[in-house]
């Protein structure tokens, strides 16, 4: 067979089978690595997204704690009181749970402003997907712990907990 003809003959069946087998082995070896990396990436992206939601909640909370005094800190409720001697009002943070039209459980961190008689002046959700909101005021430090819903429904704690020094002159209020 001349050189030109041999060059145009292509691959033999054996060469093709060997190439396909080697390719399949390589893919079989690489695929679990890809799958592992993809799973880890999905988990971290989920956690990262949840943390961002937690940070939004903390942002509003931080602003209020810097301005108002802590009046009461319970595990699931934080009550802040405006300073001054004039007409005063309070700000409350708490988690609200409800079931939406598709039957899914939804949660949000609510910020409620009330006047001195307890009438609600304003209520809005500062962040959605907040599963638990735990506060504790000890000594001169208010600690806030948030657990946020990940996009796949797993709870993601926002760590480390947020520590803030309240404006109260004598530190945390005594229960």
């Amino acid at each position: 067979m001349s050189r030109v003809l041999r060059r145009q003959a292509g691959y033999t069946l054996v060469e093709t089978i060997v190439a396909m087998t080697v390719g399949a082995i390589v893919i079989a070896a690489v695929f679990p690595v890809f799958l592992l990396l993809y799973r880890v990436e999905t988990t971290w992206a989920n956690a990262s997204q949840a943390r961002a939601s937690g940070l939004i909640a903390e942002d509003s909370l931080l602003r209020d704690v810097r301005v108002y005094e802590v009046e009461r800190s319970e595990p699931t409720l934080l009550l802040l009181r405006a300073l001054g001697t004039g007409p005063t009002y309070s700000v409350t943070y708490s988690v609200k749970r409800w079931i939406d039209s598709s039957g899914q459980v939804r949660t949000a961190l609510l910020r409620t402003v009330r006047d001195k008689d307890g009438n609600v002046l304003s209520q809005r959700a500062v962040a959605h997907g907040i599963r638990t909101f735990t506060t504790g005021c000890f000594g001169s430090t208010l600690s806030v712990s948030l657990v946020v819903d990940g996009s796949d429904g797993t709870p993601v704690p926002v760590s480390p907990d947020l520590l803030v020094t309240p404006r109260n002159l004598k530190g945390c209020p005594t229960p």
């Binding site: 690489v30 690595v33 992206a45 990262s48 000594g139 430090t141 480390p160 947020l162 520590l163 020094t165």
Partner: protein, 101 residues
């Protein structure tokens, strides 16, 4: 195909490393901020003991230093948080100043 696989794995790895670093920086910043809040609350003076909190299974080190100042009664506290065994000199630093009474 091999090139495609290498590119795919390479980009996924970069994504993972990037998100890991971003997460650590966030934790470091929060630790530094928490330490500053504690210092304000406790009205602490230098030197301040270093802390080694563990967050998400990773040990961090939170150090507080006080660079010397010329003005008596005025101190500046610099809080640095970094991963305990991080060989690089990266990490997050925040500082707060106060007038001692």
């Amino acid at each position: 195909m091999a090139v495609a696989v290498v590119v795919l794995l390479g980009s996924l790895s970069s994504l993972l490393v990037g998100s890991r670093i971003a997460q650590r920086r966030t934790v470091e910043e929060r630790l530094a901020r928490n330490q500053i809040e504690s210092l304000i609350a406790l009205k602490a003076e230098c030197p301040v003991t270093a802390l080694t909190p563990i967050v998400d299974g990773i040990t961090y080190k939170v150090e507080t230093t006080c660079p010397p100042t010329q003005n008596p009664g005025y101190i500046e506290l610099k809080v640095t948080a970094h991963e305990l065994h991080d060989p690089s000199d990266l990490g997050k630093s925040l500082s707060v100043d106060r007038v001692q009474q």
